[in-house]
């Protein structure tokens, strides 16, 4: 370490204005897409593999059955069935419950309206795509992707990756100079999200469009058919939710104010371990 550096707090510019703006816009847009998407899912709360629906045999379904005059929500995944009253299949305030896939607090609008759900979903899909294109163009041209997102050669050594996994599992986060850049687990995760899962949402979404399907039939075939595309769209959305949950927990426990400040103002504090007198 250079001997002219003293110990203390140093503020570095962690996120550029483009990263910060696209990030917060995504927070809003992905929330709205997710909730309007669940509204659309609720119109037929069942998923299939392949080109067509096999109504008697969905791989996932949220249904309502009445047992002894009491309606219950049942979720079926493959051969397994679980009662999910109040959450999936049947939910609502006491006495006002109704058969619905996801509960009203998870959908936009909160009441059943496939038409409105679709209007919201497709409107915010445009903003999502434009936002993603801005991020990617800027990231490729400005060097953010190459400089900050792609793992460095030394980060890819198995020993280093193992070390990172172990320290991450112990919830020990990088400090000092190591905190200047993303660690290898962050890089892999963020790359998986921005390069695979988010684009996959757009593509599988388009694959459900019969108009688009006629022009680019091979794309839907690539996913194994329209119902498979719908299933993958749903699973990818689930992966995004999983990512967000883990991401938020890690933000909270790895220095919430520092993290929030860096994503709002760009400034990130790191503790510099300089030579002590």
């Amino acid at each position: 370490m250079a001997d002219n550096v003293s110990s203390g707090t140093e503020f570095i510019q962690r996120h550029t204005i483009v990263t910060r703006l696209t990030h917060w816009l995504n927070v809003l847009v992905i929330s709205l897409l997710l909730m309007s998407g669940l509204q659309i899912f609720n119109a037929h709360p069942a998923l299939y593999w392949g080109e067509k629906s096999t109504f008697a045999d969905p791989w996932l379904a949220m249904t309502s059955v009445t047992v002894a005059d009491v309606p219950r929500g049942i979720t079926t995944v493959g051969d397994y069935q679980v009662e999910t009253t109040g959450l999936f299949g049947f939910s609502g305030k006491p006495g006002m419950g109704e058969a619905r896939g996801f509960p009203s607090w998870a959908t936009i609008p909160s009441y059943k309206s496939l038409a409105d759900g679709r209007l919201w979903h497709i409107f915010f899909a445009w903003i999502f795509v434009i936002n993603g294109l801005v991020y990617w163009l800027w990231g490729l041209i400005g060097g953010h992707i190459r400089r900050d997102m792609l793992p460095k050669r030394e980060q890819l050594k198995p020993g280093h990756i193992l070390h990172e996994v172990i320290t991450h599992a112990q919830l020990k986060f990088p400090k000092g100079d190591e905190a200047r850049t993303y660690n290898v687990i962050q890089k892999f995760t963020y790359l998986a999200v921005i390069a695979v899962i988010l684009p996959l949402m757009v593509v599988t979404g388009l694959c459900m469009s019969p108009g688009f399907n006629a022009t680019v039939p091979w794309l839907t075939d690539l996913f194994g058919g329209r119902q498979s595309a719908r299933t993958i769209h749903f699973i990818s959305a689930g992966l995004i939710v999983t990512f967000i949950l883990v991401h938020v927990v890690l933000v909270l426990i790895s220095g919430v104010w520092n993290n929030m400040r860096s994503m709002i103002t760009g400034k990130y504090a790191i503790q510099v371990q300089g030579d002590r007198p």
Binding site: A46, S53, R118, L119, S209, P210, G211, N213, T215
Partner: protein, 266 residues
């Protein structure tokens, strides 16, 4: 009460409050005419964008007989109770005549036997419901293009409207009668047919007997069932002398009148 449980309670309340606020904000926005106007404008942009990047003459994917669904779902009206229809059905559609009128040179009235002599097409296609499910079926029917040519379109003809026998929603003003409309590009598309057969059998009542539209590459609700009359028009939102929309509520179809996309391509 300890500090932690107090804080947890506070956080829980704040979370519940925020989510209620967020949801009611979304519901209010949905009901707000300005906001829904913006959403609807963007729907128009989506249609234009789709028509820009997709080939409007492209054929929908066709399948082989092994792909045909054994559980093809019938949606919307499954059994019309409208008097006129019930009477026709009782006679096995012997008295049925398809009317072709509006902006045409030679209005037509065609019996089912005459329709079966029209240039026909058979196709095995996937039916994509707006709800999210798909079924695959085999359809045989008269191609709409040659039929329109036979009637002869007037120069100001722009849209083809399908008037159906079924009332899907009871309304006072009669706008609950099912209808649909397509533009001339879709009308002349080779896969646009008036189907009288499904899976090699006479079209069943649940699927629109005696005649239903197949307009592949669009969502299920465009495929009007129980078609009684084909009317060629210039405008979908035309109004009469009293300022009332002539066709339903003026958006070109039963479901488009109720907030769904008219172009139904996504």
């Amino acid at each position: 009460m300890t500090v932690t449980t107090n804080r947890r309670r506070w956080l829980g309340l704040a979370g519940a409050g925020l989510s209620t606020l967020w949801l009611s904000a979304c519901d209010k926005l949905t009901a707000d005419p300005t906001f829904s106007g913006v959403l609807r404008k963007v729907e128009g942009v989506t249609m234009k964008a789709q028509r820009l990047v997709t080939d409007r003459k492209a054929l929908a994917k066709e399948f082989t007989p092994v792909n045909i669904s054994k559980d093809f779902r019938a949606n919307g009206t499954r059994f019309p109770t409208d008097e006129e229809y019930v009477a026709l059905l009782a006679d096995n559609f012997a008295g049925y005549k398809l009317v072709v009128d509006g902006l045409v040179e030679r209005p037509l009235e065609l019996t089912l036997a005459e329709l079966r002599q029209q240039p026909a097409r058979t196709q095995i296609t996937r039916h994509d419901c707006v709800e999210g499910w798909s079924s695959i079926g085999k359809w045989t029917g008269a191609r709409l293009g040659p039929l329109l040519d036979r009637a002869g379109l007037k120069p100001n003809a722009r849209y083809v409207v399908f008037h159906c026998a079924d009332t899907l929603e009871q309304t006072l003003d009669g706008t609950g009668k099912y209808y649909e409309s397509i533009d001339l590009i879709d009308a002349y598309h080779p896969q646009t047919i008036l189907a009288y057969q499904m899976n090699d059998a006479t079209l069943p009542v649940g699927h629109g007997a005696p005649l239903r539209l197949r307009v592949e590459r669009q969502l299920g609700y465009k495929h009007a069932k129980y078609v009684m009359r084909i009317e060629v028009v210039e405008k979908l939102d035309a109004v009469d002398a009293n300022g009332q929309t002539v066709l339903g509520r003026g958006r070109g179809g039963f479901w488009p009148d109720r907030g769904y996309e008219w172009y139904a391509g996504i």
